[in-house]
Amino acid sequence: MFVLDQVTLRYGARAAIDGVSVAFANGTVSAIIGSSGSGKSTLLRLLLGLEWPQAGEVRIDDVALRRDTVLALRRRIGYVIQDGGLFPHLSARDNLALLPRWLGWNAARIDARAQELSALTHFPLDALARFPAELSGGQRQRVALMRALMLDPPALLLDEPFGALDPIVRHELQDELATIFAALDKTVILVTHDVAEAAFLAPRLILMRDGRIVQDGSLEDLRERPADAFVSDFLDAQRRLPERSL
């Protein structure tokens, strides 16, 4: 569905994305991992037309992304960011309804879809009347996910969706997301700096460093056949609990 072809994006002298070519097939789940500043979030933003490359091309379903068509394309992609990006002046329900309403959906259709999604995301239906400030971090993230899925888009981009959550909620939500991914058959790209999380949710891992892709493969590929020493270092840097002593 998504193709980046020799894409370069510079901020001044620094290349945020440096000649990257990569493709994401329909219905696949991929995770982009790397340290902060490696360009992984920027890559998502390029796919949404929130950034525009100086060189190379972004294609969605074989059509090059253009400024005059980008709005319609964005509606085919769900996007969830850290802490949700919910609009604080709108209730959860109005956050969900914003785009469908503009597209001319009637209230019944919006409500029906919201009900469907609240079942899917285990979000209590009556909490839809609340404002973001009245929701917990995990609930906010669920609403953000619902908002991204309202139009049932073929693709879902998630940028550190668990970044602001405490470990227990995070764990719970990761489980749910895995179920949802399996149920929905969407093209999913997840950005995270947590290898365990990436490997849990996505069969394909793409490790980035300094705006380039260092390695693209399964966890096993990265572990057993690292492209260079950095890959091993990055994997090893994930801290585990110490073994329990007997």
Binding site: L50, A72, D83, L86, F87, P88, W102, F131
Partner: protein, 494 residues
């Protein structure tokens, strides 16, 4: 929605007044003698079956002169010395009336025969202080550099005032500027030693002042005359008989007595003028204080309301534009910032050539003052929206317009309302100056009160103005609370 209706009514009122068959509009400066003279002209003209509108106490010479040139008044009392020294260029200070008349004719302005008295500028001191230092002439002041001068602002600035006087006499003192009517009070309280005065001022005997001899004959003759638009005379030939009837009619003693009656005995100018002319003044059944204040309130609200609505209509789009385009935004913010630095009275005066006198120029000036707070807060509110929210809106696939209305403006609403509130409160205060260019409002009793040294009258304008400012503040806070989405109030509470 009563306020909106009141504003609408006021706008219609202005429009209606403009459409009516114009009466002869007589102006006066913001000092007693000028007002009494204008009332005398008005009453005399009424005897000649003319309809008169007296636009009272319109600030200083500049405002009257511009209003006459620009045609928003037809006639006002002036002094020959002011004409030769200040208003007309390339004419000698002691030029005769024929020369003055010729110079004025070019500008479409006529001048009456002298009314009979002179009212010169002079310098004065308390008799006891002058006697102590043995000062009788202006030259004597040169050796007393420690003397404190408190001069009227107009005198300080005018070519025929302090700058020329200082040169002519080589005076070493550096004067402070103050209101003429307050200067007498300051002199009596020994806060200053020397003031400028008009030789017909009633206060000279009252405060036992010594008028210093102009031993170098610096001050020209200030013969009282009437200036009028020649067009007005063509339109209303009966005006000539009024002018003829007043020629040479008022001598110095009569003028000084009338000034004293108004300033010291607190008789209304119009009544004093009527007594002088020997006509019975049809007393307009004494307006009650409450009605007066209600009238002023309506005028004041009109000035503030109309200017604020116009300012919002322009400043809001400008603020949005400024937030969208950074470069242009800097220009917009700088321009509205510069407007704010124009001193308020100057701003009002600048509007006269464009809008005449009355409510229109005052509204224009207030409008310009209101722009900055609203533009700046709209800009700040929009620019201050968290980038991730802005981007979430973009990523949803909402078009720009929709994002502006549904996301950005609601998020910036508080800041925008705060800007409008600031503008409104500033307007309520600044609008009091509108009285100086004939716009009425709470400024009217304030300037009259200052002129007549009447604290009660000053408070009659100052207290309602302060209350209105508080009320405006309160109302806007309520609006702010009501309009702020609950979701945002929750955040503020956290």
């Amino acid at each position: 929605m009563n306020a909106r209706r009141a504003v609408l009514a006021l706008v219609l009122l202005f429009a209606g007044a403009a459409a009516q068959a114009a009466p002869l509009r007589v102006g006066s400066k913001n000092f007693t003698e000028s007002i009494v003279l204008a009332d005398i002209v008005s009453l005399e003209a009424q005897r000649h079956a003319l309809t008169i509108e007296h636009r009272k106490a319109l600030g200083g010479t500049r405002i009257l002169w511009r209003a006459l040139q620009e045609g928003s008044i037809d006639l006002y009392p002036e002094y020959s010395g002011t004409l030769t020294r200040e208003l007309l260029r390339g004419i000698k200070a002691d030029a005769d009336l024929a020369t003055i008349r010729a110079a004025l004719q070019v500008q479409g302005i006529g001048v009456s025969e002298p009314l009979g008295f002179e009212d010169s500028y002079a310098l004065g001191m308390r008799e006891d202080i002058a006697a102590r230092d043995a000062i009788t002439t202006i030259s004597d002041l040169r050796v007393h550099a420690q003397l404190r001068f408190g001069l009227s602002s107009e005198f300080l600035d005018r070519d025929d005032g302090w700058p020329g006087l200082q040169r002519a006499y080589a005076l070493p003192q550096s004067p402070r500027g103050m209101d003429h009517d307050l200067a007498y009070r300051a002199l009596a309280d020994d806060a200053i030693d020397v003031i400028d005065l008009y030789t017909t001022d009633a206060e000279i005997p009252y405060y036992r002042l010594r008028v210093l001899t102009d031993d170098r004959h610096y001050f020209p003759a200030y013969r009282a005359v009437l200036l009028f638009r020649l067009q007005a005379l063509r339109d209303t030939p009966a005006l000539q008989s009024t002018l003829d009837a007043l020629a040479g009619r008022i001598d110095v003693a009569a003028m000084r007595a009338m000034n004293a009656e108004v300033k010291l005995q607190r008789h209304p100018e119009r009544a004093v003028a009527a007594t002088f002319l020997g006509v019975t003044e049809t007393t307009t059944a004494g307006d009650s204080r409450v009605r007066r204040i209600a009238q002023r309130t309506l005028e004041h609200l009109g000035l503030v309301g109309v200017s604020l609505i116009l300012a919002i209509a322009l400043a809001l789009p400008l603020g949005i534009l400024a937030a969208r385009r950074r470069r242009l935004g800097q220009v917009v913010l700088a321009t509205s910032g510069i407007l704010q630095t124009v001193p308020s009275l100057a701003m009002f005066v600048f509007m006269i050539p464009l809008f005449g006198i009355g409510a229109a120029p005052a509204i224009a000036a207030l409008f310009l003052y209101s722009l900055l707070p609203i533009v700046r807060n709209t800009h700040a509110g929009l620019v201050g929206i968290a980038p991730e929210l802005r981007e979430s809106a973009a990523a949803l696939g909402l078009p720009l317009r929709e994002r502006l209305y549904r996301i950005e403006l609601p998020l910036a609403l508080r800041s925008i309302l705060a800007g409008i509130k600031t503008a409104a409160v500033i307007d309520v205060g600044t609008a009091t100056l509108g009285a100086l260019i004939g716009a009425g409002g709470y400024g009217q009793p304030i300037i009259t009160g200052i002129r007549l040294d009447d604290i009660g009258l000053i408070l009659e304008g100052a207290i309602p103005a302060a209350l209105l400012a508080l009320l405006v503040q309160g109302v806007f806070e309520l609006i702010e609370y009501r309009l702020t989405p609950r979701g945002l109030r929750l955040i503020a509470r956290e």
